[in-house]
Symmetry: C2
Subunit: 387 residues, 2 copies
């Protein structure tokens, strides 16, 4: 059993949207195919992966460092001990050999895309949906039949007023979502409060999450927190710089509502620092590490073990990214939920075409592997790019 080819390409997910920090007009992702010599139904089994949105494609690191190390690995070095399948952890260790510690950024994104393809391949070889494989291997068979999901939306874009913001949120409700999310921080507080009020008036403050995308200094975060407190929001996301743990800890002592952060932390070590130094409260706060930006599901398994070791429940984990990998993880490992991107970062955002959202819950489905073949527009693009 061996990997016969690894193909990578860059796909555009550009959109005319912006958050408080960046616009997405040039945004790209890396798409990967890992082809094996295992045959099913007369064809080689191929695993597919892509990196999550927000950090650009990583073709250079993939082509120059990660993929050549896998290609150079000796016969059997990437297989499970019994030789019956590929071993994602051995593959991870091989692709990251001779990489120094620290500096978890673009490299983690590149590895995340490749690791996703490896897990898709492994689950397909087992002829199981990935979430069932994870449940059996790592969760004693426990799993969730349905996963809490919420749409990452409410972006700023040119000419978007309160009416169109409300229309967008009404649309999510019509699609079956309950909790909705909106961006804040790109306009003055008073204007953002009007936007929050417009959405809260429509769906109720408890079901509105707001996301500052790391924009605020402490003073601004506190001012927003105080002004938003009456809404009883679902959460207040990424108030300050993702690495400003002190800001987060200070805010947590003064804002009693839920906080959420972690989409811009890309490793076990960074996630551990958030828990150790960020003042996050296990009884209410949310951790949003995205496996498809953070060395992949393999590292995410270590992150789950780390947070449980520090007294947290894995139900506090709700991955960023709105992709099928996060949905599979949440179902098979019983996390708190998953983001969804029904409207943006197409064709990569969102779940399989047949996924039905009811009262804010999604079922993971029975597609083999991660199930990318069941998301037709995305899979057509993947096939066009990497076969």
């Amino acid at each position: 059993m061996r990997i016969t080819d690894i193909r990578e390409a860059t796909a555009s997910i550009s959109s005319n949207i912006q958050n408080a920090y960046v616009n997405f007009s040039q945004m790209t992702v890396s798409v990967i195919a890992v082809e094996s010599d295992v045959m099913r139904h007369g064809r080689p089994v191929i695993g597919y992966g892509f990196c999550s949105n927000g950090r650009y494609a990583q073709g250079g690191i993939l082509r120059e460092r990660l993929i050549p190390r896998l290609t150079a690995a000796g016969e059997g070095a990437l297989l499970s001990d019994d030789g019956g399948n590929f071993d994602p952890r051995k593959i991870r260790d091989t692709m990251l050999a001779n990489e120094k510690p620290g500096g978890h950024g673009d490299r983690a994104v590149a590895a995340g895309a490749l690791d996703m393809a490896v897990w898709d391949l492994v689950a397909k070889i087992e002829e199981r949906p990935l979430w069932r494989l994870l449940s059996e291997r790592y969760n004693g068979g426990g799993h969730d039949e349905r996963v809490m999901v919420y749409p990452g939306g409410g972006y700023y874009y040119p000419g978007k007023g309160l009416d169109r913001l409300q229309d967008e949120m009404r649309g999510y409700r019509d699609e079956g979502y309950k909790v909705v999310k909106m961006k804040i921080g790109a306009v003055p507080l008073a204007e953002d409060l009007g936007r929050i009020e417009a959405v809260a008036g429509l769906v109720g403050g408890n079901d509105v999450a707001v996301d500052a995308n790391g924009r605020f200094d402490l003073e601004t975060a506190l001012a927003y927190g105080e002004a938003m407190a009456p809404f009883g929001l679902f959460w207040f996301e990424e108030p300050g710089d993702p690495l400003d743990f002190e800001l987060n800890a200070e805010l947590a002592t003064r804002y009693s509502g839920a906080l959420a952060t972690g989409e811009n932390l890309f490793s076990l070590q960074d996630a551990r620092n958030l828990i150790r130094h960020g003042g996050m409260r296990p009884d209410r706060d949310w951790i949003q590490i995205d496996p498809a930006l953070s060395y992949g599901l393999t590292e995410y398994l270590d992150i789950i073990q780390m947070i449980e070791g520090l007294g947290w429940s894995r139900r506090c984990l709700i991955p960023h990214g709105g992709h099928q990998l996060a949905l599979a993880l949440a179902a098979g490992l019983q996390l708190g939920g998953s983001e969804s991107y029904p409207g943006v970062f197409q064709p990569f955002g969102g779940f399989a075409d047949d996924t039905v959202i009811v009262d804010g819950w999604a079922e993971p489905g029975e597609h083999m592997g991660i199930g990318m073949e069941a998301k037709s527009a995305m899979f057509a693009e993947i096939q066009r790019l990497v076969g």
Copy 2:
């Protein structure tokens, strides 16, 4: 005044050495030329830069993200307010537009190489050595005539015994160095103690720094610390994972000798977390952030301001990397010193050909800009690659 061309290429700095974490047989750096339409002596002024060693070339990020943003910048957007030179901070902000916060790794390395070329260009347009320009602009004219330097050496390589380790250290002493550094952590403690003893016996324990390259868990770091205490070492470098601030803080309460770390932290935010959470002691410890891996000199100016704001002296800063940029920074901004690489990472390691080391001190010299033209083997390679 405008940038007419930005060229980048990948150079090999492979060597048959290893530290406790990685081997360097495949190590590369990015080399950059930023060409302007400013003419001096009948030729366009060109700034040169390269990324520091240890984190590989970053051609993908440079070609796909950073360089195109500079190429697309409007007339004048990259110039100082008076139009008399390029503005490194505006160039930095432009090259990093639409990059999300957090995730400071390969991107910081790519930006560090480009920022080095920009500062070389800016200083050459001013017809000044960079260290003099920095002294005048940011240090009220203050500067050091000589900089404490030490060779990054003592690597493990196949067949290297105590004799050859001592020969290496004797060679550094013959070249004029005083403090020498050696790697630890790739072999058992007892064997490393024999190595340390061999070097301390030669140069005195006070002049020996040891570097674990982030390899140890807390228990091992404490065991090494206890065993090494009698030597009175110059410092104990990167004992644990660079992001394990808790480990570092715990070690600092129990190892009374100097600690040094920071070469694998790549941003203002990560450096601030080390100061806030890492237990480092301003009266004895060393911070080794490398500007050529960490968004460049522009970010480093902010790091100096940050540490001074937190009550530290800039004399505690001693950049990793052993390159001419670090020497210029240390002289012009009066830091604690600079690493040197007389023997490894050639042709990029070390200083100008005419740099004389006396009693562990180096003079920065009067070459224009960073002075890469005065390091002939390196400059020949730079010219071959990017003209």
